[in-house]
Amino acid sequence: MTDETEITLTVNGTEHTVEVEPRRLLVHAIREDLDLTGTHIGCDTGNCGACTVLKDGEPIKSCLMFATQADGAEILTVEGMEDLPAADDDLHPLQEGFREEHGLQCGYCTPGMLMAGKALLDENPEPEEDEIREAISGNLCRCTGYQNIVRSIEYAADELDARAATDGGAVAAADGERSADAGGEADTFCGLEDCCGGPDASGGDHAGDQFEREYLGGEET
């Protein structure tokens, strides 16, 4: 069973059948078998995130899984961005954001950053800055200091939001991973904070640690 096996990958909407060895990484199948070299390899350890692609809508590091494990999966790589409805036959708003906000210098990390950004905006169209930073925390950039990458993703969120407001959500809803319902609800007009994909309420705030604390067990709050 070290022999090659046949797998089917749907990459950017096109179905491909490739023969791979069990040890072939997904990133190598994408780059070498399918010749889609936009997905980069920046490290050997899984730290850098340059190889990030969306597998069935979720961001994953394509250097940390074997191609056989993606058999039957839908993969989106950076090459597929301009074919998404939101790109409107031009650059996707995320790509436009990286251009407008100077979100790259050498560009090596950019494909991974774009895919991480895409995954974030699919889930959470109006992210706060800390949510953007969390979403790209698995992606390393050695040029920008991240500041402009965060702005680039904010730019895309604003752009998509503005279009959704104009088009009644048609563009956003047509972008693939988001359901028609989510797009149609037009988060902008919800009017409630932390609603419509907003951040979960989280506990564990330790702002009070400078105080002495007491615990009175047995009393209900």
Binding site: R23, G46, I60, L64, M65, G138, E212, Y215, G217, G218
Partner: protein, 295 residues
Amino acid sequence: MKSAPFEHYEPTTTNEATSLLESLDDPTILAGGQSLVPMLRFRLANPDVVVDINGIDSLDYLREEDGYLKLGALARHADVEDSDLIDERYGSFADTAPLVADPQIRNRGTVAGSVAQADPKGDWGSVLLAHEGEIVAEGPDGERVIPADEFFLLPYDTTLGEDELITEVRIPTPEPREGSAYHKLKRKTGDYAMAGVGARLVLDDDGRIETAGIGMTAVDITNAQATDAEQHLEGERPSADLFETAGELAAEASNPESDEHGGADYKERMVDVLAQRALGDAAERAGAVRRKVTQ
């Protein structure tokens, strides 16, 4: 670098997987692969045979059943992170999941795989120890339930048999007055813990601590339990003073090594601090009232 070539099997049922493990020579199990794949690429692991369990759909679950919170072997960190059940009832799990590695890795990596990997810097082992958790394994002789405190032997070494497959990790569902928490110190997002502490407290009707559990990350050769600190807590009422002493006892029980992230003394001090914070959160979540008093 590429992995060395290996034979590759994709069972779709647990039975198929366990028969493969029994019949094959020294197979390695591939679940989330977020530690194993880099190890294969660096050839730190060179198995002849890899059994990929990702096709066993019946192992993909996270649910409460028969008095346990059960995570099937394919429950990913992100499944825990996204679960409403976890948010509502399992403080330590809700704390831990978002602190594991980064979003991409959490989408693939599994909780059970992290436990099986037995990296002393892994977070989940400490959480299982704090909760008196169990590891359920399937082997040639059927099912075996291994208490978490009998699971970890050495770094990357456990009492799991070579022909056994972890099918599930589980912890008891919360008592009426139970709270738990996990605190982790790391240099930046995505890093392993420099130190971490998980705590679980069960209060009795009188508000005294009936059961206490404390698990520690990255400060010993395995995930470790702070037994003295646990015993010190039991039977007492939660208080800052009590937790201070428990923190000191946990620090004493820890055995960290100095490295580029900090000296052993510093890490011990961090165990103390993290234990106090985790116990504080656990007590509050168990229903104890936290009163802040300015000094």
